[in-house]
């Protein structure tokens, strides 16, 4: 679970690091990707594992469109306007999903990956395990892309200093669009894997986006490795807290971690700000 949070958070963190906009619609983008995985399965019989590339394409397209139609226009506005715009987007997406998909809970029946492993008497669901593995792979790819390729370093340059990067001939607008595409692709992978074992419904994104915010704040806005570690921490806190104290307060432990970190070390564990 932690690795899924980490991947979702990495997308959020990437977008924030690039242009200092918190995407409050992140959870709802996750919901879209889960629904697209669901529909690809329901209509074409594609298992979520195989539909990942298609979901990635869909989400990347949505990311680019979001950037061109909304984000580009509010890039230089006040923070309030940015928060409201992404919040408005979140409300719209969720409401549209309720309208078209109805608020029913859906599941993908008989996915390819099911069943469970038994390791030393502990049962681990196969879908969960594979989801973590796929997320880890996606994470490594993301990391390699950002640090090793030319486009990735251009992306980093833009996030460090937009003007300097522009002087060096890096088109910041394209980089922003790319950032959105990659950020939402992370969500696409996480969403596809999640749809294997999680219910799909319009409000599904809310909790995940909260955890993603926490993970991003914990790891430091803009730091990808930070969000990996923070995501794992959150996963551990959530399940250990649920096991040791009381599962119904799961959310609270995670929030407490957020408040503690933010108050004690506002820039997060690996933060630059």
């Amino acid at each position: 679970m932690g690795l899924i949070y980490a991947l979702i958070a990495a997308g959020l963190s990437l977008i924030f690091g690039l242009m200092e906009i918190v995407n409050f619609a992140h959870g709802d983008h996750l919901m879209i990707s889960m629904f697209s995985a669901f529909w690809l399965w329901a209509l074409f019989g594609l298992d979520p594992i195989f539909s990942i590339p298609i979901t990635i394409l869909i989400m990347a397209a949505i990311g680019v469109l979001t950037h061109y139609f909304i984000i580009r226009k509010i890039l230089n506005s006040t923070m309030l306007v940015q928060i409201c715009a992404t919040f408005g987007l979140a409300v719209t997406i969720r409401a549209l999903a309720q309208l078209f998909f109805t608020p029913d809970f859906r599941t993908i029946k008989n996915p390819l990956i099911q069943g469970k492993f038994e390791i030393l008497g502990i049962f681990i669901g196969k879908p969960q395990l594979y989801a973590s593995l796929v997320c880890l792979v996606a994470f490594v790819l993301l990391y390699l892309f950002v640090t090793k390729t030319e486009t990735g370093t251009a992306l980093q340059a833009t996030s460090q200093d937009r003007q300097a990067a522009e002087i060096l001939g890096i088109p910041s607008n394209k980089m922003f669009a790319l950032g959105w595409a990659i950020g939402l692709s992370c969500v696409a992978v996480a969403g596809s894997m999640l749809s294997n074992f999680y219910y799909v419904f319009p409000d599904v994104g809310v909790n995940f986006s909260l955890f993603a915010f926490v993970a991003v704040a914990l790891g430091g806005f803009g730091s990808i490795t930070g969000s990996l570690i923070a995501g794992i921490i959150i996963g551990v806190v959530e399940s250990v807290g649920g096991l040791v104290i009381d599962p119904s307060f799961k959310l609270l432990y995670v929030f407490a971690v957020y408040l503690f970190v933010v108050i004690v070390r506002p820039q997060g564990i690996f933060g630059r700000y």
Binding site: I83, A85, F87, F213, S248, Y258
Partner: protein, 340 residues
């Protein structure tokens, strides 16, 4: 820098009571009209609609006090709505304290909670504060869902009291009484905020919002004033929760601490115009009818249609008119009050 000292100087010299005849007459006519409105024998729906507009305008104003005056964006204002609702219902159900006092208790508790929350988190800036309030708002919901003393997730039912409608603040025959109560709170709130806007405190808060470093160098205690703004904001929010609880006679955590309330309040304020005391009225007057009418015409599923409209409207506002609908009203009209 100069700007701020000029503002403070202005605040010093300007009398607190400062009326312009024309605007006073216009406002007087509107208020009189609102008081007489129930006598035109409108439908129940019209009364309900007006009430909703008043209540949401006050809630948005509460949010506006925080965001517009101190620049902190709260995504958890439902906390105070819920506290108001719960305080009123709880003291009535358990101790038979009349809701009229319950409202005051709610205001007090709400202000106190705002102080407790505010002291640690108001130091956070920008996104961190927004996310912290969002999380705290949801934490409140989770805690109240599991708290047996306040009815866990089924909430509190306020028993129906037919003998004494006044002391139990329950009016089953007509909605007119609720209409007047909410109108009263609406007017009082706007008058107080209007005063706040012109008081020294208001100028100081705006100085903090615009240039917090400069303000602190002028001797304004930034975090103290932010907490004051937060407390005022919370105290404005609480009575609306109480009134709502008395109106629907049930309080449950899913409604009272609903994140949608926090978001709706923010949308109304932004739609109308942040930092402008007329903004919330305009925002509520536009958004609430949209929501109520779409619920009528589209039936049960309409609940999400109104949200689609909200979302799209708010995005459009953000992109094209970040200062809200208030800024569409000609400047000359807005400035008239100040022009003298």
């Amino acid at each position: 820098m100069n700007n701020i000292s000029a503002k403070l100087l202005e605040a010093k010299n300007e009398p607190l009571w400062y009326f312009n005849k024309n605007s006073l007459i216009i406002i007087g006519i509107i208020v009189l009209g609102l008081f007489l409105f129930p006598f035109t024998s409108p439908s129940k729906f019209a009364i309900h609609l007006m009430m909703m507009i008043f209540m949401h305008a006050v809630m948005a104003q509460s949010w506006n006090v925080l965001a517009g005056f101190s620049g902190q964006i709260s995504l958890g204002h439902a906390i105070f709505f819920g506290i108001g609702a719960y305080a009123c219902a709880y003291f009535y159900v358990k101790f038979h304290i009349t809701p009229w006092i319950g409202i005051l208790i709610g205001i007090g508790i709400s202000g106190f909670v705002a102080m407790l929350i505010g002291i640690p988190i108001l130091r956070l800036k920008g996104h961190y504060f927004a996310i912290a309030t969002l999380l705290i708002g949801i934490s409140f919901q989770v805690v109240f869902q599991r708290w047996p003393e306040v009815g866990s997730s089924s909430g509190l039912w306020i028993p129906i009291n037919r003998e004494s409608p006044w002391s139990s603040m329950q009016f089953h025959k007509s909605k007119v009484a609720y209409y007047y109560i909410s109108l009263l709170f609406f007017i009082v709130t706007f008058f107080l905020v209007w005063l706040l806007n012109r008081s020294k405190l208001g100028y100081r808060l705006r100085a903090i919002r615009d240039q917090s470093d400069a303000a602190s160098s002028l001797g304004i205690h930034v975090s103290k004033y932010k907490i004051i703004a937060f407390i005022i904001s919370a105290m404005i929010m609480a009575p609306i929760g109480s009134i709502y609880a008395q109106y629907v006679l049930i309080v449950d955590p899913n409604n009272a601490f609903n994140v949608d309330i926090s978001i709706l309040v923010l949308l109304i304020a932004v739609m109308g115009g942040v930092g402008n005391i007329w903004g919330p009225i305009i925002g509520a007057a536009i958004l609430i009818p949209i929501s109520e009418f779409s619920r009528i015409y589209f039936g049960g599923t309409g609940h999400s249609i109104d949200l689609v409209v909200y979302g799209v409207l708010i995005i459009i506002i953000c992109i094209f008119k970040p200062s809200g609908i208030v800024s569409l009203i000609p400047r000359s009209f807005r400035e008239r009050e100040k022009a003298k």
